[in-house]
């Protein structure tokens, strides 16, 4: 029985370009208050724009408000309920943090303002650095990376720079292999590649953990620069041999990079630095609840050991004993350099610091406990109806498969779409790639047991439907304003932008 949702009227809305009417205007500006110079004297005619920005929409403020209010109602969001995307950690985005990020003293601060006049902003960075170093157990830190993948690139480049410095250019040129488990997120190999490494894939065991023998074997080749490991891994399992894994890699002269996307299982409970990890990235937009915003912004701080600290990006925020207390330090000759203009996604740092201070030491651990408990509760609730490929007790997320349902021709995608009819955002599907028909479920701590029960009931009901009425599931969703879209056709002849109907096409002559 569907308990979480029903259907109701939902507003239609065209593209803004279709709403546009010549002569409408939504802007207001003060009149120009300086004596005007003829435009030609400012910018030579040939450098001037001559298409009058044709094609851009002309609408009133009311049009804009109704346009975006209407289309916003087509979205699912955390505020509407549980968002069990495995690996994405969709937790509650505190309003308090949004308010903090909008304090004028921060929001109106220019990044190139004099350090002495931006001490508050630098203090926020410094304090956040301290807390994240403590949480990861890794003292070196840079908040410059703009997202997880960016942090990965940064961390891998740090490993490379360290090895270059340690072994010298030629010897280190032999170390160009980065080991990555087959269960890893796609950004891992992509980031390794961007840093000039060739990727070798490590098998996972039947248990869903890193295959130590295979790891040893690969390390034996001697050209290993490092290992990129996610822990808990993307199957939601803690790599219990993490210490041994780190030893093997270290003994082989490599370093260990940890993908910290799953830190929501560890904060306050265990620290990567204590496990032998050399460098890690965090996703502030996951573990530390900065909003995903429909696809960013993120923030991917990179934390590392004292040994690797000299190689972090510049500038770094440090304390000077004297006034001004905080300063930007550019003087790190071994630094890999800058990975972004200015200092990173500052607005996300404000929110993450507010998250940490609001939770406090006990709240941080409590959140981890509640997140893991919720995942275990779901694992327990679904195991009777869905195939659980790995026996191990999951941490903050759990993976199931469509194996049983597939016999009836019902696959993971169908189950996901049917969940929409039940009012839930689907879990992460077909990831990790090594599990066929994977359904990766991460409830986070931000959901109460009633909604967890609703979710479990929905999943069970779908399992029943798969047996009794597969068609119902195969054709889902049935209750949404649009059905499944033909993505294949969309990719074959991609339409990536609006264009005016031929009639008015003169208006956009310069555009195509």
């Amino acid at each position: 029985m569907i308990t979480k949702v029903t259907t109701h009227i939902s507003p239609n809305e065209q593209l803004i370009f279709e709403r546009s009417q010549p002569g409408r205007a939504g802007f207001s500006l003060p009149p120009l208050d300086v004596d005007e110079t003829p435009l030609e004297e400012i910018i030579p005619r040939e450098f001037q724009r001559d298409d009058a920005l044709a094609g851009m929409p002309e609408v009133s403020e009311v049009d804009v408000i109704r346009h975006f209010t209407r289309i916003s109602t087509w979205n699912y969001s955390i505020d509407l309920g549980m968002y069990p995307l495995g690996s994405c950690t969709m937790k509650y985005n505190s309003r308090l943090n949004e308010k903090v990020a909008r304090i004028a003293g921060f929001a109106n601060l220019h990044p190139l303002a004099a350090e002495a006049e931006a001490q508050g902003a630098l203090e926020v960075i410094y304090e956040l650095q301290q807390h994240l170093a403590e949480i990861t157990g890794l003292p070196g830190i840079s908040l410059q990376p703009a997202a997880g993948a960016h942090g990965e690139m940064t961390g891998i480049m740090i490993i490379r720079a360290f090895i270059d410095a340690r072994d010298g250019k030629e010897k280190s040129a032999q170390r160009r292999t980065m080991l990555i488990p087959d269960s890893a997120h796609g950004t891992n190999p992509a980031s390794a590649h961007l840093s000039g490494f060739t990727v070798k894939t490590i098998k996972s065991t039947a248990e869903g953990l890193t295959d130590l023998d295979h790891l040893r074997e690969l390390c034996a080749h001697g050209n290993v620069a490092g290992l990129m490991l996610t822990n808990p891994n993307t199957l939601g399992l803690f790599e219990r041999n993490i210490r041994e894994i780190c030893d093997i890699v270290h003994d082989a002269g490599g370093l260990v990079y940890m993908d910290g996307a799953n830190m929501n299982a560890l904060v306050g409970v265990a620290r990567p630095g204590d496990m032998g990890v050399d460098v890690i990235h965090l996703n502030l937009h996951k573990t530390f609840s900065t909003p995903h915003g429909g696809g960013g912004p993120g923030s991917g701080p990179c934390c590392c050991t004292k040994e690797l600290e000299p190689f972090l990006p510049v500038p770094r925020v440090v304390t000077t004993g004297t006034y001004p207390i905080f300063k930007l330090d550019f003087n790190y000759p071994q630094s890999i350099g800058r990975v972004k203009a200015f200092y990173g996604n500052y607005g996300m740092m404000l929110r993450a610091l507010a998250y940490i201070l609001t939770h406090g030491r006990d709240g941080l651990r409590e959140a981890t406990e509640a997140a893991v408990l919720n995942a275990r509760y779901i694992a327990h609730g679904l195991v009777s109806d869905y195939e659980k490929p790995f026996a191990g007790a999951p941490m903050h997320e759990v993976v199931f498969t469509d194996k049983r349902q597939a016999r009836k021709g019902v696959h993971t995608l169908d189950i996901a779409k049917r969940l929409i009819d039940y009012g839930f955002h689907p879990m992460t599907i077909y990831f990790p790639l090594i599990v066929s028909g994977a359904m990766l479920i991460e409830p986070t701590e931000s959901v109460g047991h009633q909604e967890l029960d609703q979710f479990i009931e929905a999943m069970r009901a779908i399992a029943q439907e798969a047996l009794e009425d597969p068609e119902l599931v195969l054709n889902a969703p049935h209750s949404t304003r649009i059905g499944r879209l033909d993505e294949a056709a969309a990719a074959r002849k991609p339409v990536l932008r609006w264009k005016p109907a031929p009639a008015e096409s003169h208006a956009t002559a310069t555009q195509s």
Partner: protein
Amino acid sequence: MRYIPNSPDERAEMLRQIGVDSIENLFDSIPEGLRLRGPLAVPAALSELELLKKFDAMAVHNEAARRISFLGGGAYSHYSPTIVDHLISRSEFFTAYTPYQPEISQGTLQAIFEFQTLVCQLTGMDIANASMYDGSTAMAEAVLMAERVTRRSKVIASSAIHPEYLQVAHTYVQHAGIELQHSAYSTETGATPADSFTGLDDKTAAVVVQSPNFLGCVEDVQALADKAHAVGALLIVVVTEAISFGLLKPPGACGADIVVAEGQSFGVPLSFGGPYVGLFATREKYARQIPGRLVGEAFDAKGRRGYVLTLATREQHIRREKATSNICTNEGLIALAATIYLETMGPRGIEEVAKQCAQKAHYAARRISEVEGFSLPFSAPFFNEFVVSGPGEAASVLARLASERGIDGGIALSRYDPRRPNDFLVCVTETNTREQIDQLVEGLNALTR
């Protein structure tokens, strides 16, 4: 903890139901020795009241946020209509994830499709992606893309590009087997002459130029395009002050092959440098080489129109190490803010903002150049930023201007180029009143008497 729905009692009951003895047992798979013994060395929890007081107190120490400001150099204070922040604050937008499930994500998807269209319209290009981290990383990704497209390994960038952008590009390409060369800008004009691209040859993947450049000068993009195309190289154009699109000929109409820009000018707060949004546009034929996410039009079985993430085969989650980029999370919400800004301002509004920026900047330049000891070293046309040469050390004049008059008068170029101790970069936008400009002029005058 007020963000956690389940109460301690409820959690205990859940533990009972799943047959786990204690919370601690949930972590049995973590070896005893690896678990933290004590609590983290992080402060105890703060209430809302205490937390806001703490942040307000820190904000007070950001004097620069309250100053009359003429700072630019890659981050600009433009006016953002109130509705921009109000609309992006709808939780349907800011608490949603990347739109992987189109049936319940059409709001985000349609907004991105509109964003892609607007970026094309502004830049004069065929296609644009759903955003990059910022202008600097977008430029670096453009360089990498040029290498993929041309299979050539040399890239020549104008030295008048924002220094931090060049630093980021260097970091990105250092292990990609790309040689990054620089071409000197003219110390007379402040622009980058086509003939400064010595070393331009058939191994050159791309020529990279910023316009208006870091010194505020408008480059002759068409000439540079011709020069690059003559040897089969691509022209990459970078824009840090996106409002200039309202007045200057779009790079797409001047032969640019890839256009990247910082979108912060479109209603995004300064926020000490981020989050901003990188715009990335190129020609249709390169669609399968573009980095980042793309949203395309699609239809369901009943023929209803919708939008989906498309051409995913370029991306890391499918192509892994062979992906066109490692980017995953991008700047969705900031792209939404820029979209709302652009749609609210409309073509006339963007033109008007651009016009006011240019007019006020030229008024300021004129007035400053009348002050004894101050001059404008460069002759090329500029938009709303310009370099001023002062009688003494720019850094100290600016410091006194700030402390004694409460005016942030500009960026001392010595921050990036020790050879220009007396020069500073002044930026004027529609938010600077004539009165503020006159105060700046008066201040420079008084402090150098």
